[in-house]
């Protein structure tokens, strides 16, 4: 059997390793449009923040692929699939026959319909090349406008601020991080951004971007302002790279729909990661959860099933965590309540600035924690209950674990002192 994996990110790597756990003999080829061993897109802002070196971005060594018995075709884009002949068409004209195929092509930054986004001063932060380009743009005192306020946008803003740039963030909706935080948590983070001299303009549309002959940029906003900048980063979300096999798609809907087995409607063709529209832990319609942990989980199931293991995916659960402007920001599942849901909310519990847990009939549906890192660990303990829809018998007792009280307050005290210090 010949298995072909298209992609070299979280889903592809997880699938390769999982496949080899079930099948040590079959031929595997991994195809990626980018060069070299895998790097982690999640880490790119850490590189810009000078937290990691360029070498630190790589999460596999060149010989890891051989160790897993996979031939590699790096730097070659897959252009299309002939499902009848079971052939993958490569950009250099070669045709790669397969018995089973995994599409793990990820996603790409969305380009909102704003005139002028093709100018030289406009960047994205998605690939290693993007990050290296931005590294030379991040000069102290330069002005940066960030379009969007998701994780990528705000991490880019934080990195830029730490390197002494003047930063403005423009968000179309009325709050920052709309898909990751509720309005109360977003407000806490907005205040922190403000304290770190990042200008935040919510409810604002970027109307156009003009680049003059000197390479300077002006961003015109719906508020009638024209913001001068040396560079613009567009980070308004991602869309799946789902055009490899159009037969897999539903009309006018992005993302390759997959069954619980991660198989597409084309027999023997699987998909995993950002490119998929997959089952979710809470049931209901399939969704695109373009998140690293989801890609790892889906890749694992897909890899096992490429080997015929007959695994079924329990569905993805949205989970986010990062540190931004010295605040740990974490959320899980469905954290905005519907009518009839119970909400447990607490402010300033030790070092955790804000905790919110939404439950329905005793079953936790989702949560937010902001502030000290212990909030992420709290959400971690809550995650199995959310995922398996298990009732949590005694929520106050759950929260009363000692490391959340005494020790947490102690640790956060040290943490508070460092806030924004690195910026001054």
């Amino acid at each position: 059997m010949h298995v072909v994996i298209v992609g070299n990110g979280a889903a592809a790597l997880s699938a390769l390793e999982s496949f080899r756990g079930h099948d040590r003999d079959s031929r595997v080829t991994l195809v990626s449009g980018e060069q070299g061993p895998a790097y982690s897109r999640v880490l790119l802002p850490y590189y810009l923040r000078r937290r990691l070196s360029r070498d630190g971005l790589f999460i596999r060594r060149a010989d890891d692929y051989a160790r897993l018995g996979a031939a590699t075709e790096f730097g070659v884009r897959a252009e299309g699939v002939d499902p009848a002949r079971r052939v993958l068409e490569l950009a250099d004209g070669r045709r790669l026959g397969f018995d089973r195929l995994l599409i793990a092509t990820g996603s790409s930054p969305m380009r909102p319909p704003i005139p002028g986004l093709d100018g030289p001063g406009v960047h994205t932060l998605w690939t290693l090349d993007d990050a290296v380009r931005l590294d030379s743009v991040f000069r102290e005192g330069a002005r940066l406008v960030v379009l969007g306020s998701g994780f990528v946008a705000l991490q880019a803003a934080w990195a830029a601020r730490q390197r002494g740039l003047q930063v403005s963030v423009i968000e179309l909706l009325d709050q920052i991080l709309p898909r990751v935080l509720d309005p109360a948590a977003a407000q806490i983070l907005s205040e922190r951004l403000h304290a770190c001299d990042v200008e935040v303009r919510t409810g604002t549309r970027a109307e156009s971007v003009e680049t003059d002959r000197g390479g300077r940029v002006r961003v015109s906003t719906s508020g009638g302002d024209r913001l001068p900048a040396d560079a613009v980063i567009v980070a308004t979300g991602a869309r799946p790279n789902d055009q490899l096999l159009p037969e897999c798609l539903e009309p006018d809907r992005p993302g390759i729909p997959v069954a619980d087995t991660m198989e597409t409607v084309v027999s023997g063709v699987y998909a995993a990661g950002d490119v998929t529209r997959g089952p979710t832990a809470r049931g209901g319609p399939r969704e695109i959860h373009a998140l690293w942990p989801t890609a790892v989980e889906q890749g694992r199931v897909a890899g096992a099933n490429l080997a015929g293991a007959g695994r079924s995916y329990g569905g993805s659960l949205s989970m986010n965590v990062t540190e931004m402007f010295d605040l740990t920001v974490a959320s899980l599942g469905q954290f905005v309540e519907d009518e009839g849901d119970d909400v447990f909310e607490e402010h300033d519990r030790g070092g955790i600035r804000y905790v919110k847990i939404v439950t329905r009939a005793g079953v936790p549906l989702g949560a937010i924690a902001m502030g000290a890192p212990e909030g992420a660990a709290l959400l971690g303990r809550l995650r199995p209950f959310v995922r398996h829809r298990r009732a949590l018998p005694d929520l106050p007792a759950f929260l009363a674990r000692e490391d959340l009280d005494g020790r947490l307050a102690h640790r956060s005290a040290a943490k508070e002192r460092t806030s924004c210090a690195s910026l001054q």
Binding site: V296, A330, R383
Partner: protein
């Protein structure tokens, strides 16, 4: 492989395990540096030491976006490479037991590494609550622990002290 087995009924909440671990990690006795944490519930008269179980299928290891978590070939311990960890805290969110902690000073995640095969917490334990045992033997131990806990809860619920 061997892991640190915990018997909450034997624990007397002396916290010597925390001090031993903290000293190993930091050269000091600030309990916040400890990877093992004793949760003490005064009302329930219960104390539960918690430390990494080095899960066979370790979700923290699989999910780390920096490939900073690996399994020690010698001890089987799930370990964090502090030089690779970017501090993203995905492992804290991944651990269902709350057994990974974040070191705010160094900005990296930290967890039990079994002290390379000679866990200090076990050495320091005065009550026999912590034992460094084979994971298979632990399955039998766990059965005993669950039995004991059930008995205690039943006693409490009937008002017998």
């Amino acid at each position: 492989m061997r892991i640190v087995a915990v018997d909450p009924d034997a624990c007397v909440a002396c916290r010597d395990c925390e001090y031993a671990c903290a000293f190993r990690q930091s050269g000091d006795f600030a309990r916040s540096a400890s990877h093992i944490r004793v949760n003490f519930y005064a009302d329930e008269r219960a104390c539960v030491p918690l430390t990494c179980m080095h899960c066979e299928d370790a979700w923290c290891l699989a999910v780390c976006p920096a490939a900073a978590i690996d399994r020690d070939p010698g001890t089987g311990a799930v370990t964090i490479d502090a030089t690779r960890c970017a501090g993203c805290k995905m492992c804290l969110l991944a651990c269902p037991y709350g057994n990974i902690h974040f070191n705010a000073e160094t900005g990296v995640s930290a967890k039990c590494d079994l002290c390379g095969g000679d866990p200090m917490c076990v050495r320091a334990c005065i009550s026999g609550a912590l034992r460094y045992v084979d994971a298979e033997e632990l399955a039998d131990l766990r059965r005993e622990v669950v039995d004991a806990s059930l008995k205690r809860l039943l006693r409490l619920s009937k008002g017998v002290r």
